[in-house]
Amino acid sequence: MSESAEALAAALTAEYAAIWAYGPVGVRLSGTERKAAAEAEAAHRARRDALVVQLSTGGGSVPPDRAGYALPFPVTDRASALRLAVQVEERTAAFWRAALPVSTGAERDRALAALVEYAVRATRWRRSAGLTPLTVPFPGRPG
């Protein structure tokens, strides 16, 4: 598998997990926050679908989704749901950042668009959660 296909396959597994995580997140939120969670989930689904098509038409292997994913902490209320939403966006952003150096052209543009979008969404979730600061210096950078 090419480096690029590997990075995209890794991004796909992150998208699967993100979509799964928005289940428990969504049920703990209400009103505009629940709506924002639904929009976030839809964005992750759209990228998942595009990745599945791209990887399978490229002849690469498509990693399968799993039945469930381990949450980093129990999601029991609005506060923990928002915290998880922040983590989901920041972690998914990191996978797209990792795809940048091994992609070129339109593929790089798409990876960057995902990194930027998820970083911005993480900032919105930080604001909802009342976390400060609202931003991190290097979105998507490991560590």
Partner: protein, 175 residues
Amino acid sequence: MVLTCPVAMGRTMRQDDASELSRRGLLRAGALLALGGAAAPLAGCGLLDRDEPPPQPDPLAPLLDESRQLAAGLRAAATAHPDLAARLLPLAESHEAHAAELARLTGAVTASATPTATPSGSPPTDRSAALAELRKSERAGRESAIRACAAAPAERVALLGSVAAARATHLEALR
């Protein structure tokens, strides 16, 4: 799993192809010259000059300057509007962290060794006008970082992606 059509995501612009082509053209011209050997007097020295160019400013130099300017603008606004300082100063620190990384990458003098960039003009006295101006700068900064990321070699692209994303999050934090 249901496969839907790929969803259009992001931009699809390319802009660095032209420079890539011209660079290849130059390399090819250089190769031809080498094949021709020293028989022909090299009257047009333009091509040879390009083989060993004088030190050019790094293509990321403008982005580094911009990071310093954005930081300076935020610090000036925080001084003029102390009630905004808690919001603005972390953003200034992020730009300074970017400047330090970009300086390291480009071999430029480190930010601490140079005088702090001075913002052009003093920030508006009206709070919301000051925020609007900062948003405008961050938006322009996001766009230039996106362009730089699209055009950069692989070893620089992850940092530039983070810079673009950070500037986008600043825009959000200034709303």
